[in-house]
C-alpha cells in the first residue's frame, strides 16, 4: 500500500446509540496505517458532537459508521449541520447495515460514498486518497 505524502485528516465517527464499533475501529486503524491522520470520536455521538469535532479538528473528511438502522436520520442531520456551518467542503462517507435504496437517498443529500459489508479497507483507502486530495 502506498503511503500518503500529504496527510489527509479524517474523522471517523459513531453517531447515535449504536454500539457496534468493530467496523469503525478497523477502518480507523487501516486509514492510520495507510498514512492518514485519523481522529476517532468513540461511541454514542450526536450529529452536533460529530460536526463540532470535525470543524475543530479541521478534517477533510468524515466517515460515519452506523449499523443500527438509524442511518437516514443521523446522516441527514450531519449533512444539515455541515450546511449550516458552511462546511459542505468536508467529504462525508459511511458504512454499515444500509440497504441499497437508502444509499441512493443518502447520496441525494450529499453523502459521497457508502461502503457496504464486505468492503476491503484498501478500497476505502484508495477512494479517500483520490476524493479528498
Amino acid at each position: 500500500m502506498k503511503k500518503q505524502t500529504k496527510k489527509i485528516r479524517v474523522l471517523i465517527g459513531k453517531p447515535g446509540l449504536d454500539g457496534h464499533d468493530r467496523g469503525a475501529k478497523v477502518v480507523a486503524r487501516a486509514l492510520r496505517d495507510a498514512g492518514f491522520e485519523v481522529i476517532y470520536t468513540g461511541l454514542h455521538q450526536t450529529p452536533e458532537m460529530i460536526v463540532n469535532a470535525a470543524l475543530q479538528e479541521d478534517v477533510q473528511a468524515i466517515g460515519l459508521s452506523i449499523l443500527s438502522g438509524a442511518h437516514m436520520h443521523l446522516f441527514q442531520r450531519v449533512m444539515e449541520l455541515l450546511k449550516e456551518k458552511n462546511a459542505t467542503d468536508i467529504l462525508v462517507f459511511g458504512g454499515g447495515i444500509i440497504p441499497d435504496e437508502d444509499i441512493i437517498a443518502l447520496k441525494k443529500v450529499g453523502v459521497s460514498q457508502i461502503f457496504t459489508p464486505g468492503t476491503a479497507t484498501t478500497e476505502i483507502i484508495d477512494w479517500l486518497a483520490k476524493s479528498a486530495s
Binding site: 446509540l17 464499533d21 468493530r22 486503524r29 438509524a70 447495515i97 464486505g118
Partner: protein
C-alpha cells in the same frame, strides 16, 4: 508457498490426531467423565437431547410492542419453544422514545419499550407461566426485569412461577457491546442487587447470561471469547461472594451465552472446554458444593458477523453448519440468524427459514439420537484441551491485573479483541482466509432481496403513548417512587424493590435510569482504536 492449516482464529491444526496427541495425563475419568457428571465435558445432562431437545429461541423484536407481539405469536405458532426479546437502541441505552437522543432509532433494532403499558401489549395473550422469556438487555437490565415482574404481578402470575433469562452482563458491555448506563463499578453493584433479589424472590429466573457472543462479534478469537467470558463469570461470582452470599444459593441460576462461528470443530471444542473450565472453577476456586452450581448451561447464537451481504442465500448454509456445531457442542438453547440480517432485521419468511433450520437438525439429521457423538475424537479432545489452556493463560493474566474490572479499566480485553479483528480483516484482504462471495467465488451482480422496513413514523406514535401514560398516572406516586429509588442508589439498599415500585407507578424507563445516573454517574467510551 506452504499452505497453512489453521482455524478461523489462527489456531494451528495438525494433519492427523492420534492417542499420542492427547496430554500425557489425559484420561476419560479426569478429562471427560460421563455426560451429566463432573467435569461435564460431555454435556450437562445425562440424556441430553434424547431427554429434551434444545429450546428453539429466536431473538426478535422490532417496531412497536403490537408488531413484535404479532411476530412472537407467529413464531410460537410455528413451533418455537421460547421467547427472546430484542429491544431497540433507545431502550438498550435507557432513553425514552420521545427523547431527542432517540430520534431515528425508535423500533429500528428491536422493540421500543418505555413503560409497563408497552410490556402489557408486548406479552398480550402470552402466558407468562408457560413460556420462558429471554431479554437481551444489560445497562438498564434492572429496569426491564422490574417491568417484567410488574407485568407478572398485574396478570396475577406469582414470581415463583415465571422463568426466563435476563442478559444483565454489564462487563461484556464495557468489553464489546457498549450498551451501558452507568460506570463499571455501580453497574456491578446493580447486577449483584439483581442476583440477590432474584435468588430470594424469582427462583426460576436466570440472573445473568454471561455472554461471549458479543465479544466474538467484536472480532475476538475463539479462545478470547472463552477466556473473557469465563473471566466475567468469575467476576460476578466473586462480587456476590464479597456481598456475603453463599455461592450455592445463586450460582445455579447463572448461565452462559456463546457464539457459533464458522470453524466447526473449534466451536465444538470451545463449548466442551467452557463446561469443563466452569465446573473446575466453581468447585475448586469458589468451593461450590451443589452440582448445579458447577454447570455451564448455555444459549448459542450463530455468528451474525459471518453473514454476507453478497449472495445472501448462502447464509442459510452458514447458519445451518454453525447451528450444527452448537448442537454437537451440547447447547441448551439456540438462535439461528436469518439470511437477510446483514441488510436489515429479518422478515417473517427469513425468520421462519432460520427456525426450520433448527427443526431440520432436530428432526431429520439424527444427531440428537446419542449423547455427545464427538466425545473421544482425538482431534476434538485435543482441541478442547488447547482452547482450555489458552483461555486459562488469559484468565491468569486478568487475575494478575486484579480481576476483570481492573483489566477493563486498563483496556486489556478491548485491545486484544481489536487486534484480533484487525488481523482477521488483513487476512481477508490478502486472501489468506476466504469468505465465499466476498473475496472469492464472486458473482457480478447481487439482485436485491425483499427487506423488512421499520416505519419512520413509529417515533411519533410511540411518543404519543408515553405522553398518554404520563397524563393518566398519579404524579405524586411517580415522584415518591423515584425519590425512594434515588435514596436506595445513594445507599446500600437493594434497588430492585424500589424499581418495582416505580414500575407500578408507571414511571418511564428513562425516569428510572436518569434517577440512578444522578447517583451513579455516566460512562463514556475511551475511544481507543
Amino acid at each position: 508457498m506452504t499452505q497453512k492449516f489453521t482455524t478461523v482464529s489462527n489456531h494451528p491444526i495438525e494433519a492427523l490426531y492420534t492417542a499420542d496427541s492427547l496430554p500425557s495425563d489425559w484420561s476419560i475419568e479426569t478429562y471427560l467423565g460421563q455426560p451429566g457428571h463432573f467435569p461435564y465435558t460431555r454435556g450437562v445432562h445425562e440424556t441430553m437431547y434424547r431427554g429434551k431437545v434444545w429450546t428453539m429461541r429466536l431473538f426478535s423484536g422490532f417496531g412497536s410492542a403490537e408488531e413484535t407481539n404479532a411476530r412472537y405469536k407467529y413464531l410460537l405458532d410455528h413451533g418455537q419453544t421460547g421467547l427472546s426479546v430484542a429491544f431497540d437502541f433507545p431502550t438498550l441505552m435507557g432513553y425514552d422514545s420521545d427523547q431527542e437522543r432517540s430520534l431515528g432509532e425508535v423500533g429500528k433494532c428491536g422493540v421500543a419499550i418505555d413503560t409497563l403499558a408497552d410490556m402489557e401489549v408486548l406479552f398480550d395473550g402470552i402466558p407468562l407461566d408457560q413460556v420462558t422469556t429471554s431479554m437481551t438487555i444489560n445497562g438498564p437490565a434492572c429496569v426491564l426485569l422490574a417491568l417484567y415482574l410488574g407485568l407478572a404481578e398485574k396478570r396475577g402470575v406469582p414470581w415463583s412461577k415465571i422463568g426466563g433469562t435476563i442478559q444483565n452482563d454489564c462487563l461484556k458491555e464495557f468489553i464489546a457491546q457498549h450498551a451501558w448506563c452507568f460506570p463499571p463499578e455501580p453497574s456491578m453493584r446493580v447486577v449483584v442487587d439483581m442476583i440477590e433479589f432474584c435468588t430470594k424472590e424469582v427462583p426460576k429466573w436466570n440472573t445473568v447470561s454471561i455472554s461471549g457472543y458479543h465479544i466474538r462479534e467484536a472480532g475476538s478469537t475463539a479462545a478470547q471469547e472463552l477466556a473473557f467470558t469465563i473471566a466475567d463469570g468469575i467476576a460476578y461470582v466473586q462480587a456476590c461472594v464479597d456481598r456475603g452470599m453463599n455461592v450455592d444459593d445463586f450460582a445455579p441460576r447463572l448461565s452462559y451465552f456463546f457464539n457459533a462461528h464458522n470453524d466447526f470443530f473449534e466451536e465444538i471444542a470451545k463449548y466442551r472446554a467452557a463446561r469443563r473450565m466452569w465446573a473446575h472453577i466453581m468447585k475448586e476456586r469458589f468451593h461450590a458444593k451443589n452440582p448445579r452450581s458447577w454447570l455451564c448451561r448455555f444459549h448459542t447464537q450463530t455468528a451474525g458477523c459471518t453473514l454476507t451481504a453478497q449472495q445472501p442465500y448462502n447464509n442459510v448454509v452458514r447458519v445451518a453448519l454453525q447451528a450444527m456445531a452448537a448442537v454437537l457442542g451440547g447447547t441448551q438453547s439456540l438462535h439461528t440468524n436469518s439470511l437477510d440480517e446483514t441488510l436489515a432485521l429479518p422478515t417473517e419468511e427469513t425468520a421462519r427459514i432460520a427456525l426450520r433450520t433448527q427443526q431440520i437438525i432436530a428432526e431429520e439429521t439424527g444427531v440428537t439420537n446419542t449423547v455427545d457423538p464427538l466425545g473421544g475424537s482425538y482431534f476434538v479432545e485435543k482441541l478442547t484441551c488447547e482452547l482450555e489452556a489458552e483461555a486459562y493463560d488469559y484468565i491468569k493474566k486478568i487475575d494478575d491485573m486484579g480481576g476483570m474490572l481492573a483489566a477493563i479499566d486498563l483496556g486489556y480485553p478491548q485491545g486484544e479483541i481489536a487486534n484480533a479483528s484487525y488481523i482477521y480483516q488483513k487476512q481477508l484482504e490478502s486472501n489468506e482466509k476466504i469468505v465465499v462471495g466476498v473475496n472469492d467465488f464472486l458473482v457480478d451482480e447481487n439482485p436485491p432481496i425483499p427487506l423488512l422496513r421499520i416505519d419512520e413514523s413509529l417515533q411519533v406514535s410511540q411518543s404519543k403513548k408515553v405522553a398518554k401514560v404520563k397524563s393518566e398516572r398519579d404524579p405524586k406516586k411517580v415522584e415518591a417512587t423515584l425519590a425512594a429509588l434515588k435514596k436506595a442508589c445513594a445507599g446500600t439498599e437493594n434497588v430492585m424493590p424500589r424499581l418495582i415500585d416505580c414500575v407500578r407507578a408507571y414511571c418511564t424507563e428513562n425516569e428510572m435510569i436518569s434517577t440512578m445516573q444522578s447517583e451513579f454517574g455516566l460512562h463514556t467510551d475511551p475511544a481507543m482504536f
